[in-house]
């Protein structure tokens, strides 16, 4: 008579076998060690191309020059030259297919990012001309007097 004490063990072994079968079907085939070791490289290989395929939103200044040469040229010879077009106009995405128009943000907050005068001794920021937003023409959009593409004070309206 076989010893009955082994019976729970058979159940356990059966459950383990079942789990291994389930794993075979549920775990993606490209899951494994793909990097330097198990600690840092254990993953689904197919995820990398998924991340690489994410669409690019910001297209960069070169893509603006073709249709907007005057603005780019004006900007290039001004103090605002280092600022990317898309910083203020938002990401180009598929412009001009979609979106047809990029936002022209006239909010003062946009300019205050750099031009709100703060006490920052030792920081590059103190070398940027700044104003106190509460006292310098409050409520009026900055671009009413300053041309954002060529903001040099000599060219003020």
């Amino acid at each position: 008579m076989r010893n009955h004490v082994w019976r729970p063990l058979y159940l356990v072994l059966g459950a383990i076998a079942l789990l291994l079968v389930i794993r075979y079907f549920l775990v993606p085939k490209d899951f494994g060690v793909h990097g330097i070791n198990f600690t840092y490289g254990f993953h689904r290989a197919g995820n990398i191309p998924e991340w690489q395929a994410v669409p690019v939103k910001y297209q960069g200044r070169e893509s603006c020059t073709e249709c907007h040469p005057e603005n780019v040229a004006a900007n290039a010879s001004s103090k605002h030259a280092p600022i990317q077009c898309e910083n203020c106009h938002g990401p180009a995405l598929n412009h001009p297919e979609s979106p047809a128009k990029l936002a022209i943000d006239t909010n003062r907050e946009l300019c205050l990012r750099c031009h709100a005068a703060l006490s920052t001794p030792g920081s590059q920021r103190s070398r940027i001309k700044g104003i106190d937003p509460a006292s310098h023409n409050p409520g009026i959009p900055c671009r009413d007097c300053h041309n954002p593409h060529k903001p040099d004070l000599e060219d003020m309206q």
Partner: protein, 416 residues
């Protein structure tokens, strides 16, 4: 459209400088999880005190705590399912376990422990299953047939209940109970390792964490089993008051309830002393070595969380029950009070570790405060709020009641 919820934002308030992405991400359910696994470990150790170490006075309590341990096991899964942002992917831990992570050990340890508990219960109750299956033979009725099939299945085909066969059962029980102790400790030790190995968290990072967790887990497990046992025994006695109306001492297998509880209390005290010693050691070391994080930790431990740690956890949760249990002429009533305080103290320990570890920012220049959601208004505040915690807390009792219908663990007198 899925509601956009920054997880943790609703119940976190920040003070001074906290990194923008920091919130209290591990909240009440992560407090509940080690609490429940701790109860599991403790219940099993209590049961093993009889099966392995032949503490004969604990026989009835041992059988009860073994079954209660089984009721606690699926309950331990609940806080995790409530906490996961993707609960349906929970099985991924079993499918692609990344063993460098302490949480990945969960699948293995949990399954091993479940196998041991289930096997041990099978051996303890096999004779009962066989008796039920045979007794229900030949009776009519669909309900009876279902019951009979259930018990037949539970016998696993092993109908031999002769003395040698039962002796084999007893041997198997002893071995499983013995093997189960380190597994139960591992089950909860790794929970402590989850916290202790996080070098980024200045409060959690400590080699003592797994040991502290195990000690307090055993304390809580023994305490819960004792408490539930007393409650059930008193309730049964209340229902079966003798016609004469005289109060007779509760007798179980020849041993008075008072003696059983008194014996278990001694073990409880031992583990309680061990648990608090380790915690105080950790505290003293931190203060003495005064690492970079000590300034902010000191603010949290001695100021912001002072009441929570020293008054509620150490005072009410440790010192008070210690005094109650050590004073002479211990009564059931005083024991019950002490047990409730102990269970509260162990809960506060989990709270102070999990929430306390998130009370300060990684910047060491700011604080976060946890506001437990009381009334839920969405799924998040239910799962990670008071109601979610209470649901988890109530489940083992519901499960125990269900399991008890198949595997009766309470005998008023006599029995195996």
């Amino acid at each position: 459209m899925e509601p956009m919820i920054v997880h943790g934002l609703e119940w976190t308030s920040k003070e001074l400088f906290v990194y923008p992405n920091e919130f209290i991400y591990w909240s009440i359910q992560i407090v509940m999880y080690p609490y429940m696994t701790g109860l599991v470990a403790g219940a099993f150790v209590l049961s093993s005190l009889y099966h392995v170490f032949d503490q004969k006075d604990l026989k009835e309590l041992a059988r009860f705590s073994l079954v209660f341990s089984l009721a606690l096991l699926p309950t331990a899964l609940m806080p995790l399912l409530f906490h996961l942002q993707q609960p349906l992917r929970g099985p991924n831990v079993m499918l692609t376990p990344h063993f460098t992570s302490a949480i990945a050990a969960f699948g293995i340890v949990f399954s091993t422990y479940a196998a041991i508990v289930l096997s041990e219960i099978w051996f303890v109750y096999r004779e009962y299953f066989v008796a039920q299956a045979l007794a229900l033979r030949g009776q009519q009725g669909l309900g009876i047939a279902v019951k009979r099939l259930l018990y037949q299945a539970l016998t696993l085909g092993a109908y031999d209940t002769s003395a040698p066969a039962l002796a084999k059962d007893k041997k198997a029980i002893r071995i499983l109970a013995g093997a189960g102790i380190p597994v139960a400790c591992f089950l909860h030790g790794y929970a402590g390792f989850i916290f202790g190995s996080v070098k980024a968290n200045a409060l959690w990072m400590s080699p003592l964490m797994p040991v502290i967790f195990i000690m307090s887990a055993v304390v809580s497990g023994i305490a819960l089993c004792m408490l539930t046992y007393i409650v059930i025994m008193k309730w049964q006695k209340f229902r079966a008051v003798p016609a004469k109306g005289t109060e007779t001492a509760q007798v179980l297998g020849g041993v008075a309830l008072e003696d059983v509880i008194g014996k278990a209390s001694r073990y409880l005290l031992g583990f309680l002393v061990a648990a608090i010693s380790l915690e105080l050691l950790d505290l003293v070391f931190r203060g003495y070595t005064a690492m970079k994080s000590w300034d902010i930790l000191r603010s949290v431990l001695y100021h912001k969380d002072f009441v929570s740690i020293f008054i509620l956890q150490y005072g009410v949760g440790n010192l008070l029950p210690f005094a109650l249990l050590i004073l002479p002429r211990l009564t059931i009533r005083r024991t019950v009070l002490a047990l409730i305080f102990i269970l509260y103290g162990v809960f506060m320990m989990r709270w102070n570790v999990v929430i306390g570890g998130q009370a300060f920012s990684l910047s060491f220049a700011g604080f976060m405060q946890y506001h437990l959601p009381i009334l839920p208004h969405n799924l998040d505040t239910f799962k990670e709020g008071l109601l979610g915690a209470l649901t988890v807390a109530a489940t083992p009792f519901v499960l125990f009641w269900l399991i008890n219908k198949i595997v009766p663990s309470l005998k008023f007198e006599g029995g195996r």
